[in-house]
């Protein structure tokens, strides 16, 4: 398996030999390398936020809070990567599973329903609930290919928020459910304002766990079956892969990660409304996966983080900057309103210049950058005559 640990290996000095040795070492001890990588990230992010240009934007606590929310999108991107990057199934309604996870926790621990289940087991329940809906959606639709699947998932992504919106008796419709309990450890309740560290560390733990599990899946026979389906579904079936159940598992596992993210979101924001789960979430996460480098776990995580930071920090700072510095047209623009235009441009540019994503897996890079090999390796009928 050629997926590479990109983060730490990249930043270290040393020749290509050292880098390759580090990479091999990381591949052999995948879980350990993820743990170390995430530990580094945990420390480095706050440190970076203390540096001059960033520290002037906002205080450390605000930054940590932002990183936590960014982590939710990283989780989402990791999950969608299973469906889109590994299995090659285009899912445009991914936010639906996010919503299902969030509302599961909202029902379980809020004054609106009167329940107060603890947060930690609900993480699992939310993931399972989302996985169930993943299978429910997948069962009839996974026989569809390509565009058709995209259309159906798009519909599902629209239906779920609308159902939530209209079932006001049970979800309080557009007002959403508020007062959701934050997580607790023993008697200590996670502070929702002020100290952002508990939520931040929880998020880091969730991402680390997800990454380790996803790496393991990717290197298993299930992961190979996913890739085989992405490459050639008929050939996969002709080699004994049950394509229906394999694709269902991809959907279910991808959805469960979104469910996890949803539960965390509900406990972090303490309120959920249907508006949080609109199509733009699905699209943003898809853009994160594509920009980060489909199929590469670290790449997708970093891509998601960068894109979220651009959206939540960079564009805002750009607005503030041009409010102060008067440039004729730019000062009148609200850059946040143009974020989807910017994503679109970025995606088109990406497809033209670097189709494998910012941080491609080694496999992906080989796929897309071996043009002269491709001329040879292109299969088909070599004689140009295809009998029958």
């Amino acid at each position: 398996m050629s997926a590479v640990i990109q983060g730490p290996a990249r930043s270290l000095p040393g020749g290509p030999g050292l880098r390759r040795r580090l990479r091999d070492l990381a591949a052999q001890h995948r879980s350990l390398s993820v743990l170390i990588g995430m530990a580094v990230v945990t420390v480095v992010l706050p440190a970076v936020a203390l540096l001059p240009p960033l520290s002037s934007f906002s205080g450390l606590n605000v930054w940590i809070d932002g990183f936590t929310i960014a982590g939710i999108f990283v989780l989402l991107a990791l999950g969608l990567n299973i469906v889109v990057g590994l299995s090659g199934l285009l899912d445009l309604g991914y936010a639906a599973f996010f919503a299902i996870g969030a509302y599961t926790y909202a029902f379980a621990a809020s004054p609106f329903t009167g329940n107060d289940f603890p947060f930690w087991p609900m993480l699992l329940v939310g993931a399972l609930m989302a996985a169930t809906f993943g299978i429910l959606l997948g069962a009839p639709t996974l026989r569809l290919r390509g565009d058709y699947l995209a259309i159906v998932t798009l519909g599902f992504g629209e239906i779920v928020p609308i159902v939530i919106l209209n079932s006001s008796k049970y979800t309080d419709g557009p007002n959403g459910i508020g007062g959701i309990s934050p997580p607790t450890i023993g008697d200590v309740v996670f502070p929702t304002t002020g100290n952002p560290w508990p939520f931040y560390l929880t998020m880091i733990a969730l991402i680390t766990l997800s990454m380790i599990l996803i790496y393991r899946l990717q290197d298993s026979r299930l992961g190979r079956a996913w890739m085989a389906i992405r490459e050639d579904e008929l050939a996969a079936a002709a080699n004994g892969v049950n394509t229906v159940t394999t694709k269902l598992l991809a959907f279910a596992l991808g959805a469960s990660t979104a469910g996890l993210a949803g539960v965390f979101l509900a406990s972090k924001l303490q309120t959920v409304t249907p508006n949080l789960f609109r199509f733009d979430v699905s699209f943003t996460v898809l853009a994160m996966v594509v920009l980060g480098g489909m199929g590469n776990v670290w790449g997708v995580a970093v891509g998601a983080f960068i894109l979220f930071m651009i959206q939540s920090v960079f564009l805002k700072q750009l607005n503030i900057f041009f409010d102060n510095v008067h440039v004729p047209i730019l000062s009148d623009l609200d850059f946040l309103q143009y974020q989807f235009l910017l994503y679109g441009i970025a995606l088109v540019g990406m497809m033209l210049l670097r189709p494998e994503g910012l941080f491609p897996s080694r496999r992906r890079r080989r796929e897309l950058h071996t043009e002269e090999d491709q001329a040879f390796g292109e299969h088909g009928d070599p004689l140009g005559a295809s009998p029958e």
Binding site: M1, L136, S220, M227, A237, A238, N239, G377, D381, L383
Partner: protein
């Protein structure tokens, strides 16, 4: 070259003579296989017995229906009529219970309607959802009716919607039939080793939980599989190229890799669709030798489609000749070679 593990699972069969074909010796038995594509009869009423350990070839001019017959045996397309038995059990018959499929389609709509009812949405006259729900159910019910009354049209509709009947080929593989494709269908962007590992999918026993906790069983499984895949690659002569992407292999090697992949699930019967297509004489000779060795060393039974008559006449025990979907001749290579109908099909009628 011998590979130890697979020989243990597949009982080695001596190459049986074509003459002796008692019912116990027959591995695969096709009876009255017919496949119609609309008005075109691609395969009409073909019977075929494949004896254990034999090499049976299907030949015929272009468009004779060879690959169609092959795909029926491999479970990729359903026969219009007829059946295929494998090891004495019926393996492929005319598809039945297609009505289950639309029921599957209806499930989410039904769940959604029930959920809406349970949540009391419909009670309070939120009519948008209810109308949409009824419309969905209506459409699906119509699909169901269509499926019962006009199955062919339904199949066509399903095909047009891009629906694969993908559950079938893997059952065929599980029964012990491996295959290669006429136009190579490797997993292009996976390494040679990974291709073979996918081919061994059914041999690996670890489950989802094993994957997630990386259990000892999973690791043992993976190690054994990688070793075995290496052996299979060595068997077909690709021992040194296991980390190369499939698409970067030369054409002849791709064909051999596909063969190694097909051997991954320890098949009893191997279906080879033009294994030497596009190869030069040297490569063809090597492939022919390899096929002979597979039969001898692994005790495999082989069903082959081939255009190269030297290959066909050289290694086959038994030959079936198709023309325009019909079986025009059958017998040993010598019998077929002399059959006037075969000569006519290939060369046309002799001027009188």
């Amino acid at each position: 070259m011998r590979i130890p593990e697979s020989v243990a699972t597949v009982p080695a069969q001596p190459a049986t003579s074509t003459g002796a074909r008692s019912s116990t010796d027959v591995l695969l038995q096709a009876r009255g296989v017919t496949k119609r594509f609309g008005g075109l009869v691609a395969v009409r009423d073909v019977d075929l017995d494949i004896p254990k350990g034999g090499i049976v070839s299907i030949i015929g001019p272009n468009g004779a229906g060879k690959t169609t017959f092959f795909n029926v045996v491999a479970g990729i397309i359903d026969p219009t009529t007829g059946s295929v038995g494998f090891r004495g059990r019926p393996l492929i018959t005319r598809p039945r219970r297609t009505w289950l499929e639309p029921l599957l389609w209806m499930l989410p709509a039904v769940v959604m309607i029930l959920a809406a009812l349970a949540l009391g949405v419909l009670d309070r006259g939120e009519s948008v959802i209810s109308i949409a729900g009824i419309a969905i159910v209506g459409v699906l019910a119509a699909t169901l009716l269509l499926a019962i009354i006009r199955p062919t049209r339904y199949t066509r509709l399903m095909e047009r919607l891009g629906i694969l009947r993908s559950a079938r080929p893997n059952d065929v593989v599980a029964a012990g039939i491996g295959r290669t494709f006429q136009n190579i269908r490797l997993f292009q962007n996976m390494s040679a080793l990974e291709n073979v590992l996918v081919g061994m999918h059914l041999k690996l026993r670890s489950n989802l939980l094993d994957h997630l906790v990386s259990s000892p069983r999973q690791r043992r499984d993976e190690e054994a599989a990688a070793r075995r895949a290496g052996e299979l690659l060595a068997l077909v002569g690709l021992g040194g190229r296991k980390d190369e992407l499939a698409k970067n292999l030369p054409y002849g090697d791709q064909r051999r890799l596909e063969l190694a992949r097909a051997l991954g699930n320890d098949p009893v019967l191997l279906l080879l669709d033009e294994p030497t297509a596009g190869m030069n004489p040297a490569e063809t000779a090597a492939m022919t030798a390899l096929i002979g060795r597979l039969r001898r060393d692994l005790g495999l039974t082989i069903l082959l489609i081939e255009h190269d008559m030297r290959v066909v006449m050289g290694i086959s025990d038994h030959i079936l000749v198709l023309d325009h979907g019909e079986q025009i001749s059958e017998g040993s290579p010598d019998e077929v070679r002399r059959d006037p109908k075969v000569i006519e099909a290939y060369l046309g009628t002799a001027p009188t």
